[in-house]
């Protein structure tokens, strides 16, 4: 009897070892070209800024302190770094709203594609990706063309006589959101699609058999089943959106800093690499914690269903 138990044990360890080997290439690449070099950034956050950028190899906690506290420029009072906080809040809110909007628009779109006939499905999928084979800057400028005062929308409205003066759409928060949603939409649609494509519609039929309304079917059957896709999509939109600053600058006018701008400033004209490094690591830690929390809670239900 102990032999059988032993066999199960070794099978389990073999399984785990196999899984480690499988994930090795990905881990190695990321270690070499993404995470590993981050150790440099961590180290830099504990050093002193050089006079003209770069660092001087002298340890200092100033970088980290300046993330959270600031001295008022003129009267030297110490206070919470309100500038950093308001910039952080602005970026988080923008990312959240972008994620919600892309989900609202992307869900029906992904569903539509997933419910096409087998033969046309991949065509629709490719149709959704083609706009994104165009460069981001150009796409953003194209949106600008449409919403600016002398652009497409205003031109049409003016000519139709619906408005007397051009509507100011450019340089507003709405413009930023439009741009962000436009840029990040495929990142939501593709994972959602991957999840939905495998949806067993017999379960949906069963719901209808039990006299459920379409909305209830959606809420109680479809959404829980495609949860992994929703999670994947949300992560892929929220986190990059957090660091986004090109699109908000071009469409929003650049009057307010986003997180990405703030950090880039430290590595550029701000010449304070330690502060930039500390800000980035702080951001990364916050995001990592939130991410693990989200996935642990929301994802665990998914894995329990299959076994």
């Amino acid at each position: 009897m102990t032999d059988a138990v032993a066999t199960v044990e070794t099978e389990k360890t073999r399984d785990i070892r196999k899984r480690w080997l499988l994930s090795l290439p990905a881990l190695l690449i990321i270690l070499a070209a993404a995470s590993g070099p981050l150790l440099i950034v961590v180290a830099y956050s504990f050093l002193t800024p050089g006079p003209y950028g770069d660092v001087v190899w002298q340890p200092s906690l100033d970088g980290w302190i300046n993330v959270f506290l600031e001295k008022d420029i003129f009267d030297d009072t110490l206070s919470l770094a309100s500038a950093h906080i308001s910039i952080f809040v602005r970026s988080v809110v923008l990312s959240l709203v972008t994620t919600v909007l892309t989900l609202a628009i992307g869900f029906p779109t992904a569903y539509f594609i997933a419910t096409r006939r087998e033969t046309t499905r991949e065509l629709w999928l490719l149709l959704i990706t083609i706009p994104f084979w165009t460069n981001l800057l150009i796409r953003t400028f194209a949106i600008l063309e449409i919403i600016r005062n002398e652009g497409l929308i205003n031109g049409l409205l003016l000519r139709a006589g619906l408005i007397a003066k051009p509507l100011q759409m450019l340089f507003t928060d709405g413009a930023i959101l439009t741009g962000m949603v436009y840029v990040y939409l495929p990142l939501m649609v593709l994972p959602l699609y991957a999840s939905m494509e495998k949806l067993d519609f017999r379960l949906v039929e069963a719901g209808y058999d039990l006299y459920a309304t379409p909305f209830k079917v959606l809420r109680r059957i479809i959404i829980p089943l495609v949860k992994p896709g929703i999670i994947a999509g949300s992560i892929l939109v929220f986190i990059p959106a957090l660091g986004a600053y090109v699109t908000p600058s071009i469409l929003g006018g650049g009057k307010n800093l986003m997180l990405g701008n703030l950090i880039e400033l430290q590595f550029g004209q701000g010449r304070n690499w330690p502060l930039g490094s500390a800000l980035s690591i702080a951001l990364m830690l916050i995001v990592m914690v939130a991410l693990l929390f989200y996935v642990r809670n929301a994802g665990s239900q998914g894995s329990r269903q299959h076994g």
Binding site: P51, I73, S86, N149, E150, F171, Q269, N272
Partner: protein
């Protein structure tokens, strides 16, 4: 499966082709984007049988950061004058002595011995310009030669003013507007600067670089801007004029230099000499639309640039210009703080 193997094979072939072919002679220039006349480069390539590559950067700090780390393979770089002392003091530039080269006699007197590179031991002027105001005079008929356009916006321009988000330029302008000297660390003046900026910001519609396009389309009616950019705008719309702020404006220049670890030193020196020839400098100016520091080059510039008010500083403002220079680190830190507070 078969498709995967063929895809991998294709990928491998592409990777193999990524290694560069060797040219007879080479020159790798690291320069600002859209700043080098292709025509002029071709002339250089044909004359000296050298293959030239141009890689772009969009800020002095990026260029400095990259080259400082080493290994990037560039031979030449074109930093702004306020950064040149930093490059020299960090030992990044090669002393090629343009001051002794054959074509040096063509360099304009006032640029032959600048403070940032005495005797021109390292650099050759590439282009120079000014930061001032640009205003659509159809919208505003008043005095455009003042930073008040930006900092104390007249009513007709409110909500239509743009400010190019170059931190150093904007703060310099605000400092000069409040009567201070460039790179001042005087807290009293800086407090006024901070207040001026914060007060002015609600009148601005944007802070971005796309002035040529947006002044032309009417999205902006005024902006802080470089003179070369203003020149291009005037060509499209004659109502757009460049203003020389009487409170003071900053002169800048970008200068061609050779890197200490350059692999193609001889070709680099040839190019430095080449750029001091009036014909070549004029050709280049025709492309990037800024003045160069080479005397006699205006003969070779396109007709519309000769006598242009943007390129040739009117006499009454000649002394108001302040040369661009590096501010000490503690002052720079103060500027960064003010800038962050402005944009939070």
């Amino acid at each position: 499966m078969k498709r995967m193997t063929s895809t991998i094979a294709l990928a491998a072939a592409l990777l193999a082709s990524a290694s560069f072919a060797h040219a007879e002679g080479e020159l790798n220039i690291y320069n600002w984007g859209n700043y080098t006349s292709p025509e002029m480069i071709k002339k250089f390539e044909d004359t000296y049988k050298v293959k030239v590559t141009i890689t772009d950067y969009d800020s002095n700090d990026t260029a400095l950061a990259k080259v400082r780390q080493g290994g990037s393979g560039f031979d030449m770089v074109v930093p702004s004058q306020n950064y040149i002392p930093i490059w020299i003091s960090e030992g990044l530039l090669l002393e090629t002595d343009p001051g002794k080269m054959e074509n040096f006699k063509n360099v304009a007197k006032e640029w032959a011995n600048p403070d940032f590179d005495p005797g021109r031991k390292y650099t050759v002027p590439w282009a120079m310009g000014i930061v001032g105001t640009v205003v659509n005079t159809d919208v505003y008929k008043g005095d455009i030669n003042t930073w008040g356009i930006i900092f104390d916006t007249p009513d007709e321009l409110k909500g239509k003013v743009n400010v190019v988000p170059e931190m150093t330029d904007v703060i310099d302008a605000a400092v000069l507007y409040n009567g201070g000297k460039k790179c001042t660390g005087d807290l009293a003046i800086l407090k006024k600067v901070r207040d001026t900026l914060v007060k002015a910001k609600p009148n601005w519609v944007a802070m971005e670089y796309g002035t040529i396009e947006k002044m032309g389309s009417g999205d902006f009616a005024a902006s802080s801007d470089w003179n070369g950019s203003a020149f291009r705008q005037r060509l499209k719309n004659p109502a757009i004029k460049f203003g020389y702020p009487k409170e003071g404006f900053v002169d800048w220049s970008d200068n061609l230099s050779v890197l200490k670890d350059a692999k193609n030193v001889e070709n680099a020196k040839l190019f430095q000499n080449f750029m001091m020839d009036p014909e070549n400098a004029g050709m280049n100016s025709g492309f990037h639309r800024y003045a160069n520091g080479i005397a006699g080059s205006d003969k070779f510039m396109p007709a519309d640039m000769k006598g242009a008010p943007e390129i040739n500083v009117p006499a009454e403002f000649a002394s108001v210009g302040v040369p661009s220079m590096t501010c000490p680190p503690d002052v720079q830190a103060l500027y960064t703080k003010i800038w962050t507070e402005l944009q939070k």
